[in-house]
């Protein structure tokens, strides 16, 4: 196996003077799912934002498919094939579902209908509600719109910041199923999750962060089996 498809290597940095991340490394292989878990305030979302270029790194590097993209703006990374779904405010509330998807494809000049059809296949409920404003949808449906919008750019990497925050367990299971389906199409997925156990269940690779540093890194399966990880982070 060569170098990972996307890697944030030995990232150190924060929003202000104090560093939040300390030598933190996050990577994802092509078509695989990597999950970042850890206690509150561990810097999970910050690590994700660092990979996406939303905070300045003092040390470390971000590489996409071997290319150093550390200095790229988030917008430039979108053009490079990275898509990001923020945790909150991740849909255009006043716009219809279909318009949300169209806005996701804003940079594309080719025919976007096949991509849109695939997203409607993935999330059939969105097709039903495509003329409805995203603000009128339930939390789980909004989350689907948010993921759909990100997929419209035809990304190589999809980054999700707590996609299941505030949705019911049933909806969460379904969303995870869809995420697996997306990764099977060859899209790498990097995701931050509160629901550590369920997330590690579907993860090829898991990163347990504590205080902005890597604590445990292994396959999802191995982390779930590790007694230390279980005791400290998964509640036994």
């Amino acid at each position: 196996m060569g170098a990972p498809f996307l890697i944030g290597e030995k990232m150190t940095g924060g929003y202000g003077a104090a560093d939040i991340l300390h030598d933190c490394t996050i990577a994802v292989e092509k078509g695989e799912i990597a999950v970042i878990v850890g206690p509150n305030g561990a810097g999970k979302s910050t690590a994700m934002k660092a990979v996406f270029g939303m905070l300045t790194l003092r040390h470390g590097q971000v590489r996409l498919d071997g290319e150093d993209i550390t200095a790229f703006s988030p917008q430039a990374r979108v053009a490079k094939g990275m898509a990001f779904v923020p945790q909150t405010d991740n849909v255009f509330l006043s716009m219809s579902v279909e318009e949300n998807l169209e806005m996701g494809a804003f940079l594309r000049r080719d025919d976007i209908r096949p991509t849109m059809a695939r997203i409607y296949d993935l999330f059939p409920v969105l097709k039903e509600k495509r003329r409805q404003a995203a603000g009128e949808l339930s939390g789980g449906q909004r989350q689907q719109v948010a993921v759909g919008r990100a997929l419209m750019t035809q990304p190589k990497v999809l980054m999700l910041d707590e996609p299941t925050a505030g949705v019911s367990p049933i909806v969460m299971d379904e969303l995870f199923d869809r995420i697996i389906e997306i990764s099977r199409t060859g899209i790498s997925i990097l995701m931050v999750e509160q629901n550590a156990r369920q997330a590690l269940n579907i993860a090829d690779k898991g990163y347990v962060l504590v205080q902005g540093a890597n604590r445990y890194t292994d396959t999802g399966e191995a982390l779930l089996a590790d007694p230390d990880v279980r005791k400290t982070f998964l509640g036994g």
């Binding site: 988030p74 917008q75 979108v78 053009a79 990001f84 923020p86 405010d89 991740n90 849909v91 255009f92 509330l93 006043s94 716009m95 318009e99 169209e102 806005m103 996701g104 804003f106 940079l107 919008r149 750019t153």
Partner: protein, 336 residues
Amino acid sequence: MNILDAIVVLLNYVIIPATSYGAQLALGALGVTLIYGILRFSNFAHGDTMAFGTAVTILITWAFQAAGITFGPLPTALLALPLGIAVTALVLLFTDRAVYRFYRRKKAAPVILVIVSMGVMFVMNGLTRLIIGVQDQNFADGQRFIINAFQFRKMTGLAQGLALRTTSVITLLTAIIVVAALFWFLNHTRTGKSMRAFADNEDLALLSGINPERVVTVTWLLVAGLATTAGVLYGLDKSFMPFTYFQLLLPIFAAAVVGGLGNPLGAIVGGFVVAFSEVMSTYAWRMVAAYVLPRSLVPGGLMQLLTTDYKFAVSFAILVAVLLFKPTGIFKGKSV
């Protein structure tokens, strides 16, 4: 008692004037609301932008008239309007590049941009007066009436004559066309949708690859069109004086706030709410009362709530009441 005469009086003095005034306010408020939605500040220079656009259009109208170019029965100003819009657009884009962009880059708070827009207002104000002077200018030409009171009386035999001025009809028709075009643009074009997306959620718009500078540029172009059209229609309907346009800022903001700042549909409804309130509370209702009530019940007074000198008090009262009781306006715009 004579209901028909009462209706004619009502049309003449309330419904027709309030409808054309409402259309003018709606176009003005649309400009204010677009800037609020996209650039996220209340543009105090809007009244003077209208004045500037109108002044330029008047100069071009005079040039056309001098060259013998007219628009038949329609006012020549309508021919000059596209050119007036173009000049105004250039000035607005220059202002944005020279002034607003600096504060946008610094991510200045909206209240700072409001103060900046007041500075722009004074400059625009001075510029307009320098170009065309402070006096009243009447630039309406073409046919004055579609129906005049004398013909109407002869036709119908009623005591009251209905007067329908060309400018009233032009105002309403132009406003309908402009609003329809604007809504089509915002709802059906890629650029229009990207503007709505940017107004809705700026961060997500950036993540989607929408270019903010392009959205801002298109917004100023639309605002130039809306402000100049509103100003020219108002000037044709009444007359042009820079100070009057500065005063229009109050009813225009009242209209935008009543409808819900940032909501285009709200701006239109707000324009008519403010216009009808203003006209109805400053109209002397005695003549209507004389036609509908039995003679013994007709009061001796004028039945006028406020004299027209106080018409701005109406917009101001509406503004205060909305901000106190429903700050997001009728259509749930952004709270101010």
